[in-house]
Subunit: 225 residues, 2 copies
Amino acid sequence: MTLSMLWKETGPVWARPPPLRNPPSPNPNIPPAIYPVQGPRFVATHTFTDAPPLDILFVPGGGGNRALHENNDTVIEDFIASRFDELQYVLSVCTGAATLAKSGVLAGRRATTNKATWNWTTQFGDGKVEWVPTARWTEDGKVWTSSGVAAGIDMTYAFFRKFLDPALVDLVMNVMEYSPHTDKHWDPYSVVHDVPGADQGRPLGDCVGPVGYKFKCTGEDAMAA
Amino acid sequence: MTLSMLWKETGPVWARPPPLRNPPSPNPNIPPAIYPVQGPRFVATHTFTDAPPLDILFVPGGGGNRALHENNDTVIEDFIASRFDELQYVLSVCTGAATLAKSGVLAGRRATTNKATWNWTTQFGDGKVEWVPTARWTEDGKVWTSSGVAAGIDMTYAFFRKFLDPALVDLVMNVMEYSPHTDKHWDPYSVVHDVPGADQGRPLGDCVGPVGYKFKCTGEDAMAA
């Protein structure tokens, strides 16, 4: 397995998004100190121009694609559109679905996105996307999309389990000590964030534990509202 | 909040650990293709020599500290020992607890670590560490330690919730769509990985959901063994 990390230039890239042209007013509930003055930097191995052939493309979200949109910068969408036919799979996390929608590859497909930014993301796709309001992740042919960032872990677990030895993937999960959500229809965040059309009847809680083991939960209410 | 990332040199650092001097035999259950030929690279902002004053030190684990140990390289332990008095808090994830133990700062304290690597990590500390076999994370004064990598997310949630506005931290969690484990004593992985002294009586499953909301789980067995 070879990992390529793509950006306009190779070398260090700030995880912190560039400033918005029209930044929203600061949230009065969030003290300035929690906004980091910087973030970690990752290293891009290739540019969108010299990227090698790819089998799987993983499209993250976050403030970055919102900033690109505000600047009318479609470099990622153009790359996705040009490579989509050669890809075996494309997966998105959070607002990465907005980038997929803008690239055109969600036309006629089911997709989901972060429920806290639902209205922003679902404006894209020219009305041709079937946005699924209650879903931790969706699978539609070669396109998988997930909700907020943690949902991306669960989607990735389901994805790898489908294509690699499930016992091996389970071993990795239990060494990571991650207890995945395995039901892609479980989505309390569609209720938390008041997504239009959210299924209010699905349980907000989920019983999770180590994969491959038999476990049960207490059934007690776990937390006061 | 200012983030500093430390290593021997500034600039890009492979997330993939250096090769072990005495590598274990390849696991016959893991096909070679799943071992990535490389990993992502992060950018170190400071060295252990020129690091600024720090309030909180976060010590990760993984194959890297095992490789350092094999090479008798104590650069991280020496740094922790020299800075421990000035720190308000030090937190470890996974085998980062081995590094803490070797630095001496766990003497007389309770600590935990990844349950899959229990025997390796708990050999350190000169018998002065109270290693807790069943714990998702531990808190002992200014030292917090967590189990496998995903347990670090739960420890970090509990840590921030203690020192920042809880409503704000909960908001961030619900935007991340992460449903945390909030009971530091819940630890099915001590059973999964046969840790000596593990409490077999604690439930393997956990009922989780969005923070700040009332939820319950079904109580049905969730998965066959």
